[in-house]
């Protein structure tokens, strides 16, 4: 067989193998699952679509708390200190994104002037007053002197 022909057959075979490897990464069941998920989300608002999605899978009640806090945040609050029992990077990132453009810090950190605290869970630090109770937590502000 001439070398050029051999080369063509080898490259065609390699391309087919590569295509098979790549195509096998998407299963028909994944496609139908995604299509169904997309269809279900079509009637939801943005917050409910986020709640049903992958970003909140690590703790869906936590996102309910974040979204409730976003809606209840006083306009005068210039930042939010997030207090939670098991702080984690994914939790901080989800909170920062949900509350953007308001800056967020994770406790333990000082509460700067003008900021409020969002406490996820039952704990209530001393010297604060409850601004609003939320599903899974509360919005707090420093107690008046």
């Amino acid at each position: 067989m001439p070398p050029l022909r051999r080369m063509r057959i080898a490259s065609a075979a390699a391309a087919l193998v590569l295509f098979a490897v790549l195509a096998s990464r998407t299963s028909p069941s994944e496609v139908s699952r995604r299509a169904r998920f997309l269809e279900r989300g079509a009637s939801m608002d943005a917050a409910h679509r986020r709640l049903a999605g992958s970003a909140t899978a690590f703790d869906r009640p936590f996102f309910v708390f974040l979204e409730s806090a976003r809606r209840a945040r006083p306009a005068s609050a210039s930042g939010i200190l997030l207090v939670m029992p098991d702080p984690s990077e994914p939790a901080l990132h989800l909170a920062a994104y949900t509350w953007a453009p308001v800056p967020v810090r994770l406790s333990p950190a000082p509460l700067p002037p003008g900021w409020i605290a969002a406490v996820y869970g039952d704990g209530r630090p001393p010297g604060v007053r409850v601004l609003q109770a939320l599903p899974g937590g509360a919005l707090l502000a420093p107690a008046a002197p």
Partner: protein, 450 residues
């Protein structure tokens, strides 16, 4: 029509408007001939997005509230500038004509062409489904790209806290702002921040990538079946076109890298007078998306310097690609202020700590090798495709760029603050996946005469 369907419709309208304006504007860097129409369409999509991001930045810098009027006006101005300052014609496309003649002589491989076209269409649909299934969700979208975009959109400014290491440090203030500005701009044009509808930007970038790949390969002499086959493989390249990477910088960077590589090759071969403009534009775009765009531009400048021709011309080409990339970096620095590379400990490069570097390099290499294991079959197929090609300077340059980036991605975890294994396992897979379009163009380009 439901809320989500309406949001998708609005976003599709924004994408089409940007693509049309970009297509008209790219006459600045392409002639308006049929020869380059698909490649120009691909460039047009990215150019339209870049114009929106630039307009958003200019609005923020001048205190004008970014709104539909300002953003639409920027698209119109760009489209008009394409008509006013259009590029000159290509040199006679001998290679491309020759390829078409060869096809006719051999009887076009209709089956391959049709199968590849179906595969490309399917690949695009699959990625659109992956991208748009749910609101963009990756951690880096929430922590970096989406956070900055949403903040800029909602505040109509770049708040100081994003640059404060204690508050916004996790969002990597040292990263370029091109992608967040694009997110903010399209949200302003659409009138809402919908992070699920916005995912449509990503399949649009995939389409742009495939158009540029096909257009460049056929313009540089590849047969239609070969170019379509390369596009089919790339369209199905799920490690890049995944739900996970939707919302991140890898997909736009992969397109910018392809633009840069193809423009570099055209400029070095002198295919047309406007190739240098494309090279400069690609350098700026790549560095505006991600920091490694600046690195790639530096490598491209080195390739240009080592290329054929007179020294003055080679130096001019190097400056043409690296200068705009550096300008993009300076502009980014002006906006974000000085910010160190958060993931890297540069003191490891100091003389006193050189001893620590060797075991770290070994760990980084070990992590890279262990990650390549599961992809062995695919990598072997790629190696065979590479071996089946033959030396072709136009294509080899693209592979040099891809190889330099791969080497950097493999070695850099040695400097990681959290350790080589951590950075390699969290980033190597996706950063190298972004080199796929560049590699596809290089590998297919080497096979065009085989």
């Amino acid at each position: 029509m439901t809320g989500l369907a309406a949001a998708f419709g609005l976003m599709a309208a924004v994408v089409v408007a940007a693509a049309l304006a970009g297509f008209a504007g790219t006459r600045l860097v392409f002639p308006g001939t049929r020869e380059a129409i698909l490649e120009r369409a691909g460039w047009g999509i990215f150019a339209g997005f870049a114009v929106l991001a630039a307009a958003e930045a200019m609005c923020l810098a001048t205190g004008i509230r970014p709104g539909p009027v300002a953003l639409a006006a920027s698209l119109l101005v760009f489209a008009a500038s394409g008509w006013m300052f259009s590029a000159r014609l290509f040199a006679p496309a001998v290679a491309s004509r020759r390829a078409r003649e060869r096809e006719r002589e051999r009887g076009i491989l209709l089956a391959v062409t049709a199968a590849a076209a179906v595969a490309i269409f399917t690949g695009i649909l699959l990625y659109a489904l992956r991208a748009a299934t749910e609101p963009m969700w990756s951690n880096d979208f929430l922590a970096i790209w989406g956070l900055k975009g949403k903040t800029i959109h909602a505040a109509s400014a770049l708040p100081a806290w994003l640059r404060d290491p204690a508050i916004g440090g996790f969002s990597h203030p040292e990263y370029p702002l091109g992608l967040p500005l694009l997110f903010a701009a399209v949200a302003s044009l659409a009138g809402q921040w919908d992070d699920q509808a916005m995912a449509l930007l990503y399949p649009a970038m995939q389409i742009a990538t495939l158009a540029v790949l096909y257009g460049w390969l056929t313009r540089r002499g590849a047969s239609r079946p070969l170019a379509l086959s390369a596009c089919a493989l790339l369209a199905f390249f799920e490690p890049l076109y995944s739900g996970f990477l939707t919302g991140l910088a890898e997909v736009p960077l992969s397109l910018a890298m392809l633009l840069l590589g193809t423009a570099l090759s055209d400029a070095l071969d002198g295919t047309d007078p406007a190739a240098v403009r494309r090279l400069a534009a690609a350098g700026f775009l790549a560095a505006s998306v991600k920091n490694e765009g600046l690195f790639l531009s530096a490598v491209a400048a080195a390739v240009a310097f080592a290329g054929p021709g007179r020294l003055a011309r080679r130096m001019a080409l190097g400056a043409a690609v690296f200068g705009p990339a550096l300008a993009a970096k300076v502009l980014s620095r002006l906006a974000t202020g000085p910010a160190p590379l958060r993931d890297f400990d540069m003191s490891l490069l100091s003389f006193a700590r050189l001893g620590e570097l060797a075991p770290r390099l070994a760990a980084a290499l070990e992590a890279a090798i262990s990650m390549a294991g599961p992809a062995a079959v695919g990598l072997a197929a790629v190696a065979i495709l590479l071996a089946c090609g033959r030396r072709t300077p136009a294509a080899d340059r693209l592979l040099i760029l891809a190889a330099a980036c791969t080497a950097a991605y493999v070695v850099l975890p040695a400097l990681a603050v959290r350790g080589p294994e951590w950075l390699a396992t969290t980033t190597l897979y996706r950063t190298t996946a972004a080199l796929a379009p560049l590699a596809a163009a290089g590998i297919a380009g080497r096979m065009r005469e085989a």
